[in-house]
Amino acid sequence: MVSKESCRNEIRAAIRQLSDRCLYSAAKWAGEQLVGIEQDPSNFTPSNTRFQRGSSSIRRRFSTNESISTPQPSVGFSQAATPLPEEDETIDGDLYLLAKSYFDCREYRRASHVLRDQTSKKSVFLHFYALYLAGEKRKEEEMIELEGPLGKSDAINRELVSLERDLSALRRTGAIDSFGLYLYGVVLKEKGNETLAIASLVESVNSYPWNWSAWSELQSLCTSIETLDRLNLNNHWMKDFFLGYAYQELRMHTESLAKYDYLQGIFSFSNYIQAQTAKAQYSLREFDQVEIMFEELLRNDPYRVEDMDLYSNVLYAKEACAALSYLAHKVFLTDKYRPESCCIIGNYYSLKGQHEKAVMYFRRALKLSKKYLSAWTLMGHEYVEMKNTPAAIDAYRRAVDINPSDYRAWYGLGQAYEMMGMPFYALHYFRKSIFFLPNDSRLWIAMAKCYQTEQLYMLEEAIKCYKRAVNCTDTEGIALNQLAKLHQKLGRNEEAAFYFEKDLERMDAEGLEGPNMFEALVFLATHFKNHKKFEEAEVYCTRLLDYSGPEKEKAKSLLRGIRMAQTGFPSMDLEHFPI
C-alpha cells in the first residue's frame, strides 16, 4: 500500500521533471492528481479545505459502500515502487534555458535549433520533442492549405522520418531515456508501426510511470482487450489509472468503475477521477447521478471545458434547456474555440429545435478537430431531424469509419434507412449496433420495430428481439407490452396473457396508468373468462371498474357475463358438461 505521502512526493517530483521537458499536458494531469490526494488533517490549510469541501460531499453521496480510510490492500499499489530518476544535471545549461523559453513561446523550431548539439538527456529530448511539435504544427497548417476538392488530406509531419532515424539510433546505443522512448513510441505510431510503438511505450511507462501522455498513447493503441492483456506492465498506481481508462474505452464500464472506486481511496478529490466516473456512469445511463457529479465538478472547477460535452449530452437527454444554455454560455466565455464548446452550443440549438444552427456548430467542432467523433454522430441526428436522410447517413458513416465501434452511429444509420422505408436494409445496421452494445434494450426494441414494419412483417423475429429487450431490463416497458400484443396477434393467448400480466406488474410497480393498462386489463379479464377462470377474471374486471370511459362499460358487461356463466350452471361440474 502506498502511502498518500509517498504518492504526493512522487507526483511533485514528476511534475517538475515533466515540465522541465515541456510535457505540459502530462504535468497538468499530474498536478490535478496531486491536489486530488486527500490532505492529512494535520496540515490543513484554509485554502485546501475550501477547495475540497465540495468534492467530499459528493464522494460521500456516491461511495457509501467504500471505506475511504482503509483501501483494499489486495492488488497492492507498489510492489515495485519505481525510484524517481535523479536528474542528470543539477544546473541547467544556458542553452537549455534559452530553448525552454523559446519552447514556452511556442517557437518550436527555434528551440530545437538552439539545442542541436547538446548532449544532456534533457536537452536531447527537448530538441527532438520541439522538432516533432514543429512538424505537427506545420502539418496542421498544411492540412488547411492543401484542402482540395476531394478533401485530400495527405499532409504528413515531415519531421517524422528524421526523428525516427535519430531516435532509433539513440535507442540502439542505449542512450535513450524514458521520455525519448515515449517520443519514439509516438513517432512509430504515426508511422503506422503499431507493435513497435507499443513496445516502446511500454518500456517508457515501465521505467517512468508518471508520464500520463505515454499512458494515453498506449491506451489509444489498445483497441482490443487481447492487446491490453498482452501488455507487460509493472505494477504501479499509475497502471490503475491506465487500466481504468482503457477499460472505459473498451466499453467495460463496470470494470472501469471498479478501478476508479479503488483509486479514489487515495485520490479522493481528483476531478479527473470524478469526470471519468461520470463518463462511465453516463454510458450506464445513470443520468441523474451523472448530472449531480458534473454539477459538483463545475462547482470545484468552474472553468473546466474538458468532458463538458458529456454534461451537455446529459442535460440534453433531460431536456434541461436553461441549464444547457447556462453551460453553453459559460464554456463560450471560457474558450469558444474548443470542439467541446461548439458541441455544447450545437446541443443547445438542437434542443431548441434550431437544427440548421446546430449543424453549423457541429461542423465548426469538426473543423477544430477532424476526429471529433461525437460531433459526426450528433450532426447525423440533426440531419435526421431535418429530414435530410442522405446527409445524415453520410455523417453517421463518417463517424463509423472513424470508430467502428460507435454503436450510436450504427443505430443512426439503421434509423435513417428505416425512415426511408428500407427496413430490411436497416436491419443490418441495427445488428451492427447491437453487436457493440448487446445489453441495451433500446437497440433491441428498435430492431424489433424494424421487423414489425408492415413491409417485413416478420413477427417471430420481432418477438425474439423483444424478449432480448426484456432481458436487458427495458426501462420504458415497451417490450413487454409489445410482446403481449404480438402474441395476441398471433393467437397465442397463453403467452399473451403471461406478458400482459408481467406488464401489469411492471406498471403497478412503477405506479403508471394509461391505455396500456386498460388494454392489459381488458385482455386479461376476457382471457380468463374464456378459460373459465372466473376469479381471476373478476379481479381484473373490478380493477377496470375503477376507471371511467368505455373500459368501464366493457368491464361491466364482462362481469355480467361472468355472473351468468357462474349462476347459469351453479351446481354443475364444468369439465363434465362442456357447453
Partner: protein, 916 residues
C-alpha cells in the same frame, strides 16, 4: 454528402502546367516574328503546336508526367532542337529561385496572349488567340495562379523544387537527323491541322462516351451485376472536374512507369479523369473475368485500392471497386461492408446514371440501387432467401420513388434469381413477399411469376430505352420460352388460344430482338457509359500513329488516313455488347439442341467460341466448351470427349459454380452404361443426385435428370419394375413442377422399359404420348427417337408388323441420320436389319447387302461409342446373316467380334480401371 462537399477547385496550377506554359511561351513568344527563334521550319513549329495541344487536352489529368518524362517526349517531338528545348525548360525552372520569380513569370506570360480586340492581324504574326484551345489553357493557368493565396504560391514553389529534383540532369545526346521538309506552309493550313486534330480528339471522346460496358450473360448472377457496373460511370460524373487527384503517384507505379528512352509511354501521360474512371472500370473488368481463378491476385488490387481513399477521400467509387474485388474473392463480410459504405457515402447518386437526375432525387438519394446491388450480392453468395427479401424491398422502394429504371433492373434480377434458384425451393420463400408486383401473382407458379417479372421488366426497359436491358431481357425471355410451355396466362376460357409458346419461331424472334442491340449501338450515339478497356484500347493505338505519321507528315492524305484509322478503331463494339451477343449465340445453340439439330447447335457454339471467346466471361466460355464436348461425346465417341474434357478441366475448374464436374459425371455415367458397368453407373447417378441439392436449393432440372439416369441404369440392369416405378414417380414430379419437356423424355423412357420387358402393347401408348408431346414442343430429334421406339414396339408385337415398323423407321430416317448421335443411328440401323430379317417376305440370300450394309454401319459407329450391348447384337445379326449366306470365314469373324463384346460386357472392370 450534402453540404459537406467542398466547392470544386476546378483547376490548379501544378509544376507540369508551368512546364507547358514555358513551352507555350517558346511556341508563341510575344516577339513578333514569323518563325520564332529555335525553329528551323514551319513544320517543326507546327509539330510543337500539336504536341502542346495534346498536352493541354489532358490538363485535367489524374496523373501528370514527371519532368523527366516530359523531356523524353520532347525529344521525340523536338527532333534536332530538343536539346535546346530541354535546356530552356530546365533553365527556366532553375531560374525560379523564389516565390517572387513565380509571380514575375506569370506576369511575363500574360504578354504572349493576343488582346481580344486587336482586329488587325498581320500575316506573319504569331498570336495566341485567347479563345483558342491553347489560349484558354493559358488563361486558366494565369487565373488559377492569381487566385492562389501566398501559402498556395509557397506550396507551388516547393512542389516545383521537388519536380525539378526528380528530373534527371543528363540530357542525352541526340543525333540531329537532318530532314528538311517542305519549308513553306501557310498558317491557315496549320490552323486547319489543329482543327483536324481537335475534331479527331473530340470524336474520340464522343466515341468513348458512346461505348458502354455491360458485360452480360444469362446464366450467372453476375449478369446484372455487370449491367449495373456498366452504368456506374457516367460522362456527367467524369466531366466533373472535382474528381481530380493531383500527383497520383501510385497510378504511375501501378502501370509500370519504366520509361524506356526510345519508347515514350504515352499511356502514362494521357490519363484524364475519364481515364481514371476507365482505369477503375478496367480493374473491375479484370476482377470480373479472372475473379475467382487462382491466377489472379485480388490482394494486389486491394492494396492499391486501399491507398486511393487516402489521396482522394471523396472519391467513393473506390469503395465499390473494393466491394467487387471482395465479391470475387468470396469475402462476404468485407464485400458487404464495402458495399454498404459505398452507398452510405454516395447515396447511390454518384456513378449510377440510370435516370437523368431530377429535382427530387437529390434530396432522397437513390438507395434503391443499393438494395438492388445488395440483393445480387446475397444471390451470389448463395443466400437466395435474403436476396429475395432485399429485392422485394428494392421493388417497393423504387416504386415509391418512381424510379422506373431501377425497377426494371430489379425485376430482371428477380426473375433471374427465381429461375436460377430452381423451382422446388422457392415455394416457401415466396410466401413472404409482399411486393405489389409479385403479390398479384401470388397464386401463380414460380415459372409464371418469372414470366410476369420478365414481361414487366421488358416493358419498362423498352419504354425507358435501356437497350442492354431490353436485349438481355429478350434473351432471358427466349430462354424461358425455350424451357417452359406457356399456356395463355390470364385468359382462360373457350376463346383463349391454346397455342404453346415453345414454338421455335417465337424463341427465334426473341433471340433476334436481343441481337438487335448491336445495330443500335453502331447507329445511335446517345451518351452511354465509359468503357475502360475501350478508352485504353485507343490509347494503345494512339502510341503507334503518334510518333512518325504526325511528326513527319509528308502528305496530307496519309495523315488523314491515320486519323481515320484512329477513329475507326474506336467504333468497335464495346465488350459488354459483344458479350451479350455472344450469349445470344449460345442460346441459339441451346435452342437448336432442343429442337434437335446437332449441326446447327455445333455451328452456333463454334461461332461463339471463335468470335466471342476472348470477350466472354469465364462461365459463358465454360458453357460453350461443355456444349462442344457433349457434341463430341454424342458424335465422336467417348474417347475424344474425355480428351477434350481434360483440356476444359484445366481451363475452367477454378470457375465458381463450375459445371465441368456435372458434365464429367454425365459422361462417365453414359459410358458406364454402354460398357455395362452398372455399379459405376449407379454411383454416378447418386453423385448427380447429390449435386442437385445444393445449399442454394434444389435444382429441379438436375434432379429430374439424375432420376432419369437412375431409371435408365435400372433398366440396363433389367430390373424393370423398379425402373418403371422410378419413371412413374419421375413423371409425377415433372407434372407437378410443370416440366413439360422432361415429360416427353420420361414417357419415352417408359415406353422403352415396356419394350425391354417384353410388354410391347403396354409400351405403345407411352410412345405415342411421347410423340405427341414432342410434336407440340417441336422436339424433332426426340420425336425421331420416340418414333424409332414406336417402330420397335410394333415389331415386338410380331413379325407381321414388320412392314409397318419399317415404314415408320424410314419416315424418320432423314432426321436420325442427319442429326442423331452415334447411338441413335446405330440403333436405327440395327433395327432396320432386324425388320428386314423378321419380315417373312424378305429373303436374305437375294438381298443380303441391304442388311449387311446397315449392320456394318452400325457396328462401326458402336465401336467408337464402346457400346458393347448393341455392338454384340449387331455382330450377332451379322454372324447369322453370314451363316445363312454360307460365308463361313466372315461368320467366324463376326462371331469372334460378338464374343469379344459379350466378354467385355460381362467384365466391365478392367476397362474402367484406366478411366477413373
Amino acid at each position: 454528402m450534402a453540404g459537406l462537399t467542398r466547392t470544386a477547385g476546378a483547376f490548379a496550377v501544378t509544376p507540369h502546367k508551368i512546364s507547358v506554359c514555358i513551352l507555350l511561351q517558346i511556341y508563341a513568344p510575344s516577339a513578333q516574328m514569323s518563325l520564332p527563334f529555335p525553329f528551323s521550319s514551319v513544320s517543326q513549329h507546327n509539330r510543337l503546336g500539336l504536341y502542346l495541344l495534346s498536352l493541354t487536352k489532358c490538363c485535367d489529368d489524374i496523373y501528370e508526367p514527371k519532368l523527366e518524362e516530359l523531356i523524353n517526349q520532347l525529344r521525340d517531338v523536338g527532333e534536332e532542337m530538343d536539346a535546346w528545348l530541354t535546356d530552356h525548360l530546365t533553365n527556366r525552372f532553375s531560374s525560379l529561385a523564389s516565390p517572387d520569380d513565380l509571380l514575375n513569370f506569370f506576369n511575363d506570360m500574360r504578354g504572349i496572349l493576343g488582346s481580344p480586340d486587336s482586329g488587325v492581324v498581320q500575316d506573319d504574326q504569331i498570336i495566341l488567340d485567347p479563345n483558342s484551345n491553347l489560349g484558354m489553357f493559358f488563361r486558366r493557368c494565369i487565373l488559377a495562379f492569381n487566385l492562389l493565396s501566398f501559402e498556395g504560391v509557397c506550396h507551388l514553389f516547393s512542389s516545383i523544387e521537388d519536380y525539378c529534383k526528380e528530373a534527371h540532369s543528363s540530357s542525352a545526346q541526340f543525333d540531329a537527323s537532318n530532314n528538311d521538309l517542305e519549308s513553306l506552309t501557310h498558317y491557315d493550313q496549320m490552323d486547319m491541322e489543329i482543327y483536324a486534330i481537335d475534331k479527331a480528339t473530340e470524336e474520340l471522346e464522343l466515341q468513348k462516351n458512346v461505348s458502354g460496358s455491360v458485360p452480360f450473360h444469362l446464366h450467372t448472377p453476375e449478369a446484372i451485376f455487370k449491367v449495373i457496373e456498366g452504368l456506374r460511370v457516367s460522362p456527367k460524373e467524369s466531366s466533373r472536374t472535382s474528381k481530380k487527384i493531383t500527383e497520383t503517384t501510385l497510378v504511375a507505379s501501378a502501370s509500370s512507369s519504366t520509361v524506356v528512352d526510345t519508347l515514350v509511354d504515352e499511356s502514362l501521360f494521357l490519363r484524364t479523369n475519364l481515364q481514371i474512371q476507365g482505369f477503375l472500370m478496367e480493374q473491375a473488368d479484370a476482377i470480373e473475368t479472372h475473379g475467382s481463378s487462382s491466377s489472379f491476385s485480388s490482394s494486389s488490387i486491394e492494396s492499391f485500392l486501399e491507398q486511393l481513399p487516402n489521396l482522394a477521400p471523396e472519391l467513393h467509387h473506390v469503395h465499390f471497386l473494393r466491394y467487387l474485388n471482395k465479391l470475387h474473392s468470396d469475402d462476404y463480410f468485407a464485400a458487404l461492408d464495402n458495399l454498404l459504405r459505398y452507398f452510405d457515402y454516395s447515396a447511390g447518386t454518384e456513378g449510377f446514371d440510370l435516370v437523368p437526375p431530377s429535382a427530387d432525387c437529390s434530396m432522397y438519394g437513390r438507395y434503391e440501387i443499393a438494395l438492388l446491388c445488395l440483393g445480387m450480392m446475397h444471390f451470389r453468395f448463395g443466400h437466395p432467401n435474403l436476396a429475395l427479401e432485399v429485392l422485394t424491398e428494392a421493388v417497393r422502394v423504387s416504386q415509391q420513388l418512381s424510379n422506373d429504371t431501377c425497377l426494371a433492373y430489379t425485376l430482371a434480377a428477380m426473375s433471374n434469381l427465381l429461375s436460377e434458384m430452381g423451382i422446388a425451393s422457392t415455394s416457401s420463400v415466396l410466401g413472404s413477399s409482399y411486393s405489389p408486383v409479385t403479390s398479384t401473382a401470388s397464386s401463380l407458379s414460380v415459372q409464371q411469376r418469372v414470366y410476369i417479372l420478365l414481361k414487366e421488366s421488358l416493358r419498362r426497359a423498352d419504354s425507358l430505352k435501356l437497350r442492354r436491358l431490353v436485349a438481355s431481357n429478350h434473351l432471358a425471355m427466349a430462354k424461358f420460352e425455350l424451357m417452359h410451355v406457356q399456356r395463355p396466362l390470364l385468359s382462360f376460357g373457350p376463346k383463349a388460344s391454346m397455342r404453346h409458346k415453345t414454338c421455335p419461331v417465337s424463341v427465334c424472334k426473341e433471340i433476334r430482338l436481343g441481337a438487335h442491340l448491336i445495330s443500335d449501338f453502331s447507329s445511335e450515339s446517345s451518351p452511354m457509359t465509359v468503357d475502360g478497356s475501350l478508352s485504353s484500347a485507343w490509347l494503345k493505338d494512339l502510341q503507334k500513329p503518334w510518333g512518325p505519321p504526325v511528326v513527319s507528315q509528308d502528305s496530307g492524305s496519309r495523315k488523314s488516313s491515320t486519323y481515320f484509322q484512329l477513329c475507326d478503331h474506336s467504333v468497335s463494339i464495346p465488350g459488354s455488347v459483344s458479350q451479350l451477343i455472344g450469349a445470344s449465340y449460345l442460346l441459339r445453340a441451346t435452342s437448336w439442341e432442343f429442337y434437335g439439330s446437332a449441326p446447327m447447335a455445333r455451328m452456333n457454339t463454334l461461332v461463339y467460341a471463335t468470335l466471342f471467346g476472348d470477350s466472354s466471361s469465364s462461365s459463358d466460355g465454360e458453357l460453350a466448351y461443355l456444349k462442344l464436348i457433349q457434341h463430341l461425346a454424342l458424335y465422336k465417341g467417348h474417347k475424344d470427349a474425355f480428351a477434350a474434357l481434360k483440356i476444359a478441366e484445366e481451363k475452367f475448374l477454378t470457375v465458381s459454380k463450375s459445371k465441368i464436374l456435372l458434365l464429367k459425371l454425365q459422361l462417365l455415367h453414359e459410358r458406364a452404361l454402354h460398357c455395362g458397368n452398372l455399379k459405376l453407373a449407379q454411383r454416378m447417378c447418386n453423385e448427380l443426385g447429390g449435386l442437385a441439392s445444393t445449399a442454394m436449393g434444389v435444382d429441379m432440372e438436375l434432379k429430374v435428370e439424375a432420376s432419369l439416369r437412375e431409371a435408365r441404369t435400372l433398366l440396363a440392369a433389367k430390373q424393370y419394375s423398379q425402373a418403371s416405378n422410378v419413371a412413374h414417380y419421375l413423371f409425377c414430379t415433372c407434372h407437378k413442377f410443370n416440366l413439360q419437356i422432361e415429360k416427353a423424355s420420361v414417357l419415352l423412357l417408359l415406353a422403352e422399359i415396356h419394350k425391354k420387358s417384353g410388354n410391347s402393347v403396354l409400351g405403345l401408348p407411352y410412345a405415342l404420348a411421347s410423340i405427341s408431346f414432342c410434336q407440340s414442343f417441336n422436339l424433332d430429334l426426340l420425336r425421331a427417337s420416340a418414333t424409332l421406339t414406336l417402330a420397335e414396339l410394333w415389331l415386338g408385337l410380331g413379325s407381321n408388323h414388320a412392314k409397318r415398323a419399317l415404314d415408320l423407321l424410314h419416315g424418320t430416317f432423314p432426321m436420325i441420320l442427319g442429326h442423331g448421335g452415334l447411338e441413335l443411328r446405330a440403333r436405327a440401323y440395327i433395327f432396320e436389319a432386324n425388320c428386314y430379317l423378321s419380315d417373312p417376305n424378305f429373303s436374305v440370300s437375294t438381298d443380303s447387302d441391304t442388311v449387311l450394309d446397315s449392320l456394318r454401319q452400325a457396328s462401326d459407329e458402336l465401336e467408337a461409342l464402346e457400346y458393347h450391348e448393341l455392338a454384340a447384337e449387331a455382330s450377332y445379326l451379322m454372324a447369322m446373316v453370314y451363316d445363312k449366306l454360307g460365308r463361313v470365314e466372315e461368320r467366324e469373324e463376326a462371331a469372334a467380334l460378338f464374343k469379344k463384346h459379350i466378354i467385355a460386357l460381362e467384365n466391365p472392370q478392367d476397362v474402367e480401371q484406366n478411366m477413373a
